[in-house]
Symmetry: C2
Subunit: 136 residues, 2 copies
DNA sequence: TATGCACCCTGTAGCAACTACAGGGTCAAG
DNA sequence: CTTGACCCTGTAGTTGCTACAGGGTGCATA
């Protein structure tokens, strides 16, 4: 299949597919006589793996390691689990951080009663950290 | 005060301060005879405003708008409230998204029972979206 | 006086993970 | 034979910094 078809099949921007090839995440496919990229099923499933992992928030480097593992079925699976677990912990930390931030923002937003910027509580709160309830 | 002192006072990297000046977020300060930047209190509080807003996740462009507002006390405060409210909604959306992702990841991570990568459930789940419980 | 050291300057390049052109070639349909 | 959809390469932009390289300044100490 040509790149446009692969793009539709995996819901991935064409430029992104070429980018993945350039950084060595996807192997360079064969070319047609007209120098068009020609992909097979192996490419499609590898790209699906990449997209799915990206959707789950894995970095390119993490995905590279995961792909290495899946390319070599004899290796220890624990490594994949370690990568995924570490990532899960990062996501949980991020959620906790965003939640604290959300609470602070909600407090700030609730203070506006209209009027002029000169005595705006929102702007005042942003300027002075001491208005905050918790560290962030 | 010199840039190093401002850096310590606001817990901001020196390079970041110069960067903010370059993009017009902080006004260019006076210079000493030796061409060193020389800051006053107005700079310090403006930079604190910027840092605090960044900590709360506002983009540079949002901060630019908020600074414009606070520079012009006669303007309507509602705009500041709109920016902050829109940002709050984005943060809430991000938390929701990360929470869904966290659940999916936790499900995937829980499946590894060690062994070889060839039959690793983690790698399998990453490769095939159909293993997922919800859209993401 | 020399010299070491902390600090400051400019300008440019790098990071992640794409995205968006510019400027060209290919190919099937009408 | 031309229109339009598709493809190619290569480069530059995005966000918000961070990290040099290569130089100047200012003060204390030997």
């Amino acid at each position: 299949m040509k790149i446009g078809e692969l793009s539709r099949a995996t819901d991935t921007n064409i430029e992104t597919i070429r980018y993945y090839e350039r950084i060595g995440l996807l192997p360079a496919p064969d070319r047609t006589a007209a120098n068009y990229r020609s992909y097979g099923d192996a490419h499609r499933s590898r790209l699906s793996f990449v997209r799915h992992s990206r959707d789950l928030g894995f970095t390119i480097e993490e995905i590279r390691s995961l792909l290495d593992l899946s390319d070599d079925p004899a290796r220890d699976c624990g490594e994949a689990d370690r990568i995924a677990t570490a990532h899960l912990e990062q996501v949980e930390a991020k959620i906790a951080q965003l939640t604290a931030l959300r609470n602070e923002l909600a407090r700030i937003v609730g203070r506006c009663r209209g009027g002029l910027a000169g005595d705006c509580r929102v702007i005042e709160a942003l300027g002075d950290h001491r208005h905050c309830e918790s560290a962030h």
